[in-house]
Structures are given as structure tokens and as C-alpha cells.
Amino acid sequence: MKSRVISLYSAMLNTHYGLSAGKYYYIKKKQRLWEPLVIVASLGWLLVLAVWFAWMLTEQLFLGGLAFGQPHLALISGTLIVSVLGLFFGFFNVLSTFYFSNDLSILLAWPLRSWEILLAKLGVIVTGQYVLNALFLLPIGIRYGLLARAGVGYVLSAVVVFLVLPVIPLVIASALSVVLMRLVNLSRYRDKLTLIGGILLLVIVFGGTYWLQQNVGTDDPSVLLEQLLSQADGLVKAVGRVFPPSVWAAQAMAYAHTSQGWINLLYLVASSALGLIVLHVLGEKVFLQGVIAGLEGSRGGKRRKKVVLEHVERGAFLTLLSTERKLFVRDPNFALNGLIGYVLLPVMALLPLFGQNLEGNPFEQLNFGEMDPLLVMGGISLFFMVMIAMSMIPSTTFSREGRYLWIVRTLPLSIGQIIRPRVAAAQVVNTVGCVLGLLPLSYLFGWGVLEVGFGIVFGLLLSSVVAYLLVILDLSRPMLDWINPIKAVKSNFNSIVGMFGTMVIAFLLGALFFLNARTATLWLIPLELFLVTGILGGLAWFLTRNVAPKLWAKI
């Protein structure tokens, strides 16, 4: 008989990642076999790109670091990136899996101890984290091992590091959310809590960068870099002040053949074990109360604000737009998955800016500052278009309604009237997100107001017609039978197909712009954007008029 935790973990793993459903459809029933193919075609190239990038980066950092006596710079970078990402995404993952999932009301009725639920849920998140970590850490570890001609000790140490590394960031994220959940009356403040948590993490990241800079004792970025690299293990020590486990992990691997390496490995394993003990205690003492407080909701007891029934009348378009936006933003499962891209870009751009260290900024190295204004404009348009697909707002708009779709279906509105506000709502979020991302980039690269302004205008047009097509795509096969809302976005095939299709358009347009640059015909870019927008717009118009009503009636 399996232990309760293992049993619970397997069941959660199966449902969370759709493994049972996949087995049932693809292996037992041999149905929908085209789905894994499309997923591989959509995401496979990203995977290859990520592995190739990590491989090449390791080589560069190894050779660069060797000159300063710090060849394990690549390992340190890899473990730090993985840890920071694990902490950042882990926090949101933990919130949605621990507290906002629909299985808690069932689990709480079972004879399970709260730490058992907590551990099984943490296990599910850690498993997902392993897959993501493998993308970065495996190529880095293998490439470093080959370059350093590492032995068996290195391999053993690397395996342990790989297994243990995600634990500490996720324990920190879990502890943070468990405590926050206990402090705040959750069901009423979920949105605010998520926002506060996200901001808190950003503050930690920015604060860490600032603190690092202050601790090294110089404001001059070039001096800072030189100091970090010239001192033996300078960077290692500096990073170690911010997040020691990543240093222990890197040193455990780099010095695997020495006692120093094994001591670092011991630190890492021991601190992870300690983290799990802390989590166990928190689980017993705090988790259950937090969940029950959330489940109890806001019924009774609290003081209510007086409700004013007077209301400004709005047309169907505005009221549906506002409803769509509210429903998207208020559900952390939707909002976190959809908005994360908008947050990451400005953060990535601002991070080096905050540390005043422009050198080494990947954006800076791409030479965006010296691009032709017409190329900048074209790039911004493509950025708007890609981001609207990445947000998944239009491509999951009907799927997200799930069992609530009856409300919209019984409203006296044509499908055209229902599609338009959905496109507009996606565009409102996309515009705000993209403009916020563009501001630091424009400042960083000194782009002019005109090219940015026209880029935004073209981007709005292009992304709007793409959003129309994505909404119709979701209308054609909405995923309505979900219980956990996260499935409506993350496991929704429409979002993957939408992203893939949009990427293909972006890639073709990008290739066209590249050709324009090579043949000195950059002036063609606005015409090309007009033409593509016109073609896609015509298609969207045709589908909305002739196909959408049939699809709507068929649901």
C-alpha cells in the first residue's frame, strides 16, 4: 500500500499536469494524437533554442571566467537564475496550488494531516520545477563538465544539486504565502494579496541588486564589475550574500573532488532539509487555518459597506468589456498566466538599469539602440502582436467561461456583439502591458517618440485583428469542462495553437523586415504592415460574419 502522501502526490500530479487524461486519449483511445504533435511543433523550437543558448552561454562564461580564475561563473549564473525564477514563479504557483485550487474543500474532508496536503502539493510544484530547471541546468552542467573535464564526483554532486536546488526557493515561496494567507482574510483580498506578493518579490530582486552594489562599495559599474571578477571568487561571494544556496550548489559541483565541494553539498542538503522541517511546522500550525479562513469566505461577521444601487447606464459593449476585464484580472490563475510576460520584460530591462550596470545587458548587446527607426517601428508592432497571443486572453476567452457560459449564451446579443468587447478587453490589457514594457526599453535605447508612436499604432491594429482571429479560434472549440480554472488557460490547446500561429506570422514578417534591411527597402515596412493587417482583418471580418454565428449556435 502506498503511503498517503505518495498516493495524494500521484493523484495530484496526474490531474495537475493532465497525465491521466493524456494517457487515456493518446495511448488508450489513440485519439487526438495530433495534439502532442502540435505541442512539439509549437514549443520544440523554443526548447532547442533555450538549450542551445544555455550551452553557448556556459562556454562563453567558462572561458571568460577562466581568465579571472573563476571558471565556475557559468554554474553560479545557472543556479542563481534557476533559484530566482523558482522563487518568483514558485510564489504564484504556490498560491494557486495551495490556496486557490478547487480540491481543498474535498481534501479537507479527508483524514489527512495538513502537512501531508502541503507536502503533496509542494511535490507537484517541485516536479514541475525540475522540468523547467532541466532546460537551464542540464545543458549548463553538461557543457561545464565537458569543458572542465570533470570526473565522477562532479556527476554525483550535480545529480544531488539538481534534485535539491528547487527545494529552498519553493520552501521560501511556500512559507511566505502560508504566512500571508494566515494574516490576511484571503477570499476577500486574493487579488490584492497576489499583487502585493508579486511586488514584494520584485522589491526583493531590486533590493538585492542594490544591496549587492552597495556592499561591494562602489557606484561605478565598470569598477564594480572589475572588482567582482578580479578578486578570487569575488562574484561568488557577492552572490552568496544575496542567495547562499546557489553558491553552495555551484561550489559543490565545481569543487566536487575536494572536501570544500562536499561541505558545500552538505550545506545545501542540510538547509533544504531544514526548510522542509520549517514547512512541516508551518503546515501543522498555520496552513490549515489559512485554508479554512479562505473557504469560509466573507460570509457573516464582517462589516459591510453600504451598497449604492444607482448605476451609470452603459451599453452592452462597455459593460461586457468591463466584465471580461474584471473576470480575467480577478482570477489569479488567469491573471498570473496571462500577465507574467508583461511583467517580466520591463523587469529584465530595468534590472541592469537599476544597478546602473548597462554592460552585459542582453538588450544592450543586441544593439537595439542603433536600429533604423522603421525597423524599431516594425519590431514594436510585432511585439504587440506576439504579446496579445502570449497573454492568452483572446485565445481562451470562451474557454475561461466554463460552466458560466450559459449567462452569455442566454443574453440577447449577436455573436458579433459578444466578440467585439472580448477583443477590446484583450487589447486594453495588452496595450497597457506593452506600453509599460516599452517605456524602459525606449529610454534605454534612446528610441524616438515618432517611431515608438507609429509602432504602437501599427501594433494596435495588427494585434487587434490577430485578437479577433484568436477569439474565433477559441469559439471553434472552447474548453468548457474544466474544474480547476488553471486548466482553462494552461492546458488549453487553443492558447498553444494561437501562440504558434502568431509566432509563425511574426517570424514571416520578421524575415521580411530582415530582407528589407538587407535590400535597403525599409520604407516598405509600413506598407507591409498595412497589407498584413488588411489581409488578416479581412479574414477576421469574414469569419465573424459567416462562420462565428454557426460556431456559436453549435456550442
Partner: protein, 248 residues
């Protein structure tokens, strides 16, 4: 008010019809009860009337509007409360009601007046500012009912409205149905509770295995054939038992 002509529906992959060749007329100003055992086709019929399902064959006319040709006009004239009213959990009650009010074009003063009336009646005035996810099932049902009545629809359709309601709320629901009909409107509802149908309905229809097996006033059903003065319960059991059939 409602006219179903030869309406049939068979779900994908099913060997039998959920609703077969259904002819039914619900007249203006009446409360019509739609009865039948579990799986008889009541909810399927209702879903076809409100436009949630498309009939494979036949015609659905609501207030003179063909649901296939002019679904918007048909929907505008009705209000619908499903058996399990799943409402957006992350909207407040008031946001949901204002959404309905805006879509159905209920003007501000009328909206405020009706909202105040129904919310007071359902004792939701204080809770309406809360998120729907914090509402009990009964509260959600009352909110759905308020939303369905907000535009004073000529036709009010309810699917199993009494399920899960406490006696006080059930009484309130019945009063609302009566009040709605008094204002010249029509109510069509499905139910398992035969006493409710007996007390409220001007006419009832009984459906079994997708086919209408009886339709008429209580009096017509009771005195039909050899059933002199039978209770609705006895009648229902008799009719829905294997082999039982009755035509008006």
C-alpha cells in the same frame, strides 16, 4: 407565448432521442408546469427554448420570434433561471446585476427601483456588494432570479426552481411567479415537486422519455379517461409508469 412544433433533439453518440417530436403551446398569462421523471427531457426542452441547445428538427417560437431566425428578439423577451445557476464567482452581486441590466437595456431609474424591490424581497440588499463566490446556493439562486426579472420579461423560464431552497424561499419563489403572471406575463417552469405544480399551475405538461404524454389543466388531467378526481401525484405515477399514456 411559447410554441414548439415537432421539436426533436438527440445528443451526439446517443442511441435515443432526448426529446422527440415535441408539440407544445404555452399561452400568454399562464403558469405552465413542466413535469417528468429524471432524464425525461425537461432540461433539454428548456435549454432549446432559451437557446442553449439547438433543436435537430422542428421549430421553437418565443413570443412570435423564431429562435433560429431571430434569437436576439426571442431572448430579449424572456428571463431564465437554470437549475444550478452558476454565476460568475468573481463578480459582486451588484456587478452581475448591472451587467444584466446593461445588456438588456434597463434604464437607470427603473433598474434602481426593481433592484431595490427584489433585493429587499430576497434579503440580499446587504450582501449584494460581496463577491458571488461567498454566496450560499440559495443566495445565488435568488440573485439569478433577480437578474432574470430585472428586465421584466414577458416570459419567465425556470428549471427546477425549488431545488435546494428553504421553505421561506420556496414560498417567495411561488409568490413571485404569481405576481409575474398577474402583470400579464407568462411563467414556464419544470419541477419534481408535484404539490407546487398543483398549487401554482394553470396547466401542466408531462414528459416521458422525450415525448409529451399529457398536457392540460389540472381539471382536464384529473377527469380525463377514467381518472375521476385523482391527485396529481397519482396521475403522474400512473402516466409515467411503463405503458401509461394519455392524450388530451
Amino acid at each position: 407565448m411559447i410554441r414548439l412544433q415537432g421539436v426533436s433533439k438527440r445528443y451526439k453518440g446517443a442511441s435515443t432521442y432526448a426529446v422527440r417530436d415535441l408539440d407544445l403551446e404555452v399561452r400568454p398569462g399562464e403558469i405552465f408546469g413542466f413535469l417528468g421523471p429524471n432524464g425525461a427531457g425537461k432540461t433539454t426542452t428548456i435549454k432549446m427554448i432559451v437557446g442553449l441547445l439547438k433543436a435537430d428538427q422542428g421549430k421553437v417560437l418565443v413570443n412570435g420570434h423564431d429562435l433560429t431566425l431571430d434569437p436576439i428578439a426571442a431572448k430579449r423577451s424572456m428571463g431564465y433561471v437554470p437549475d444550478k445557476p452558476d454565476l460568475y464567482p468573481r463578480l459582486t452581486g451588484l456587478e452581475y446585476l448591472n451587467l444584466i441590466g446593461d445588456v438588456y437595456g434597463v434604464d437607470g431609474p427603473t433598474r434602481s427601483k426593481r433592484l431595490a424591490h427584489y433585493l429587499e424581497m430576497f434579503q440580499l440588499t446587504e450582501a449584494v456588494g460581496d463577491l458571488i463566490q461567498s454566496f450560499s446556493r440559495g443566495m445565488q439562486q435568488k440573485l439569478a432570479l433577480t437578474g432574470a426579472l430585472l428586465h421584466a420579461p414577458a416570459l419567465f423560464i425556470l428549471d427546477e426552481p425549488m431545488v435546494g431552497l428553504d421553505p421561506k424561499s420556496s414560498h417567495l419563489f411561488k409568490e413571485i411567479m404569481r405576481e409575474h403572471v398577474k402583470q400579464g406575463n407568462t411563467v414556464f417552469f419544470s419541477t419534481h415537486v408535484l404539490e407546487v405544480a398543483e398549487q401554482l399551475c394553470n396547466r401542466v405538461g408531462i414528459i416521458k422519455q422525450g415525448e409529451l404524454i399529457a398536457c392540460g389543466t389540472m381539471e382536464e388531467l384529473r377527469t380525463g379517461r377514467d381518472r375521476d378526481g385523482s391527485s396529481l401525484e397519482k396521475l403522474f405515477l400512473e402516466l409515467t409508469d411503463e405503458g401509461g399514456s394519455y392524450e388530451e
